[in-house]
Amino acid sequence: MKQGYLDEQFCQVEDLQDEASPNFAEEVATLFFKDSARLISNVEQALEKYPKDFNRWDAYMQQLEGSCSSIGASRMKSECMSFRDYCGQGNVEGCMRSFHKVKREHGALRQKLEAYFQLLRQAGPAGAATRPGM
């Protein structure tokens, strides 16, 4: 969170963990990456198949933004919002640039979270009390 990849919402997801669901945050993260890969693919296909269809592009990106918001993926969400701003402006180049940033942030977040959960597994239950900066 110190690096801005995740915000307070991620803490909320972690706080939902309990004895019955000790790995809930990791499960949600896994699901997020599966879902977001699909949503990114939807946007990519829309950019290709529906040139300048800003409403369609915006609609697809809105879904991804919502998903980012739910897990606390703040940097990725910010890029989604940037993309949607460019859609509103009718700026194709801006949309393409920000879409590349969305994909880049997606990849970076995946790496960070994979490393984070691996650290947690290594640390065991005691390590769960202290969240590594992200």
Partner: protein
């Protein structure tokens, strides 16, 4: 259509097509001792009501395939389901007007917080039973919950 469910676990319906959002909300509802059912779009939600299923509270996302949240809300209300509490949920703040015009009781922006859901259930249970609600684990009532208690859908009064 009876929807009051006094004395037993609240029955919640989650209408959400984004898996992450669905899983998080379902987990919150299970933690709050709700019986939660999930469907992926507004049409499936309406179909449940057509089949005679009853719920105490419904959480609907706004943008979904086949039928949107507001559209489903309008159809559910048109079927006479006036007692069920309906919560519109969306990352799009512009969805509030659409949900409220359709007949939702309250709009909650994403991401939904556990304390918000807990407080809504508490208010809802108080209204259903007339008794003090079971203790739920939350810190405080959020602004959305205060709105939930006071909010009136168009031309209707909520008895809480």
């Amino acid at each position: 259509m009876a929807s009051k469910n006094q004395g037993s676990a609240p029955r919640a319906l989650v209408v959400e097509d984004i898996k992450v959002d669905c899983v998080i909300l379902m987990h919150m509802l299970h933690k709050l001792n709700c019986e939660a059912t999930v469907v992926e779009n507004g049409k499936e939600a309406v179909d449940l009501f057509v089949e005679g299923k009853t719920f105490d509270i419904v959480f609907l996302d706004k943008d979904m395939p086949l039928m949107s949240g507001p559209e489903a809300v309008a159809k559910i209300r048109a079927m006479g389901a006036t007692e069920v509490k309906i919560v519109g949920v969306s990352a799009d703040f512009g969805g509030q007007e659409a949900f409220m015009q359709a007949g939702a009781d309250v709009f909650v922006p994403k991401p939904v917080k556990l304390e918000t859901v807990a407080a809504m259930l508490e208010v809802m249970m108080l209204g259903a039973s007339g008794e003090a609600p079971r203790k739920v684990d939350h810190e405080s009532h959020s602004d959305e919950t205060k709105s939930f208690a006071k909010m009136k859908p168009p031309e209707k009064e909520i008895k809480m």
